[in-house]
Structure formats: structure tokens, C-alpha cells
Symmetry: C2
Subunit: 172 residues, 2 copies
Amino acid sequence: MVAYPEPVADHVDRIVAQWGAERPDLDVSPMEVFGRLKRLYRLVDAELNRTFAEHGLDAASFDVLATLKRSGPPYRLTPTGLMQSAMVTSGAITQRLDRLEARGLVTRTRSDQDGRSREVALTPDGHALIDQALPDHLATEHRMLAGLDEAQRTALIETMRVMVADLGGEAE
Amino acid sequence: MVAYPEPVADHVDRIVAQWGAERPDLDVSPMEVFGRLKRLYRLVDAELNRTFAEHGLDAASFDVLATLKRSGPPYRLTPTGLMQSAMVTSGAITQRLDRLEARGLVTRTRSDQDGRSREVALTPDGHALIDQALPDHLATEHRMLAGLDEAQRTALIETMRVMVADLGGEAE
DNA sequence: CACAGTTACCTCAGTGCTAAGGAATTCGGG
DNA sequence: CCCGAATTCCTTAGCACTGAGGTAACTGTG
């Protein structure tokens, strides 16, 4: 039996304690999970954006460039493919591509096979930028996990995998 | 040794596999955590908003009403207090209060002690609405956790507590 | 008691997203 | 082969937020 230190009360503990006083009839224990999930997400998001900003990017632009890069040669995808990967609406992708195209990081060309479709491709500048930003991004992610041991990381991943599946995150 | 089923490959597994093919020199394992964190947050957010919408609310409005409610009698807070609790800018709180005040769910009055300050209070309608919405909200949260056993929930909470603390979420 | 600095809230322009819908193109049943 | 349905991408209005900055009120030091 290892003696873990008693966790220091955090923001979420205080919220739960307040509800316990005001509405002792309700079981607010799920807030222990979802309150921290929201806080963690926002802190992670802010931290990642700091790294992106060092490369003149934001999360939306990085997402598009990274999706094209990891798709492998010939580094081409349709706006619909990018939309599904990013889980945003088509209008959002149009705007993201407008910005990236204006900066010369991607090109948009008409598809030969289907006149309705477009092909989005990384330019040399786009390749160079994502190749620069990606190692820094991963370093930031590694740093944010430094406080967890291997068992905690594995358990965290598996627990989130279950929740995402339960919530229909992989439905067709 | 319990035989766990091999997890089905999900969206994040595919992303990690793509990077493994395109950039085998990089350790992209942190994406197992942060990719799922992002997906989970968005799915949870969408699910919670569904419940809020059933009561004519969104996450921002619910947050303000719930913060006032759990503060206990006399159910009054300043915009600054709400701002710190919600982790948004003062401009966002002003707009949230504009909306809630227009709907008659909160009142904004000048403080007697400090002429710069305002006191935001729940109206009877505001009390009634949050009292209606809160049980449904908690039921939704309970439902989203149904797939986890007690050990998983506890481990998830503690792991997120550590990460939030590491990221400075409880700084001063 | 004067006044510079601080605090509390609001205002406003800009941003990126969604939801709804439009135009061009392709598909597929009769 | 034709034409309604489906698909693909773009357009637009509206929304909630941020960041910068403004106004009013308070504080404390000399």
C-alpha cells in the first residue's frame, strides 16, 4: 500500500462542495469528471495554441496542414475529406482553406474525375511549415504528459476510448 | 488475468497509424491522449447542449444560472465573480448577463458598498429554470458515465486532477 | 485633500464558427 | 437519354467570444 498524498482541493472540489451544501438531495458526483474535463480541455487548448502561434498558426490551420501531411503522398484531399476529419461544417472548411490559400500554404484545384469536387494540396511552403511546427507541437504534448506515469497514460487512453465509443463518436 | 477484448480501432488509432507511416521518426504517442481528449470534449459538449436546449438554454446561460444557484443564499454574485468562475473575459459576461436580464432570469443592480460594482441575482423565474434544468443535466452526465466502473471513474478524476494542476489550472 | 494608480464593468471591432440555403455537377431509375 | 435526386462546395447572416480600450468609482500616498 503506497501512501499517496491527499489531493489538494481544486476548483472542481469547491464547486461540488457548494452543490452539496445547496442541494444535498442531488448526486453531483459526475461533475468531478465533467468539470475537470472542461477545465483540462481549455488549458490544453490554450497551451497548444501557444505553440501554434510561434509558427504563425492557430489550431484550425494546423489541423488542416497536419491532416494533409499525414495523408501521405500525394498530400491531396478534398474539402469534404478535411471536413469529416476536422468534424466541422463545410462553411468552416471553406473559410480555413481561403486563409491557407491566401498565404500560399495550400492550393485548390478542380478535380478531373468530378467537376463538383476540389483537390486541396500542400504547397512547398505548406510542407515546410508543418514540418517545422509538428516537432514543437509534439514536444508540447509530451511536456503536458510528463506528470503521468505509464499506467496512468494507458488507463486514461482506454477510459476515453470507451467514453468516445459510448457517445457514438465512431458511428459510421 | 482478465481477458479484455482487443479495442476496436477508432479515429485516433487511424491518425496515429498514418503518422507512423509518414513520419516514423517521430513519437506521436501523445496524440493518443490529446486526440481523444478533443473528441471526447466535443461529444460531451454536444450532448450537454442537447439537454440545455430542452430547457431553452445553452451552456453559457446554464453556467451563469448554476453558478448563482450553487453560491447559495442570497444567490448574488458580481460580474467579476462570474467571470472568474466561468474563465471567460469580462466582455463575454456582460453579453451573457444582457441576454439573461432581457429574459427576466437575473437582475443587475448597483452595489451599495462599491459604486463600480454590480450585483447579479437570480429572479424567481431564474430559480425555477435552473431547478428544472439541473436534474436533467445531472441525469445526462450520469448516463455518459454509465460505461465506466468505479475504479475507472476514480482513476480518471485523479489523472485529470494531476494534469490540471500541472498546467497551472489552480495557479493563485 | 489632491490626484495618480487601480479596479469594475461595459463597448466595439474583429474572428471563426454554425445553420440554412444556393449553384454547379453527377448519379440513377424509367 | 432525360430529369429529379443527391452530392460537392461555396455564400451569407447571425452568434458568442476575445482583446483592446473607455468610463466611472474607489484607494492610498504624500
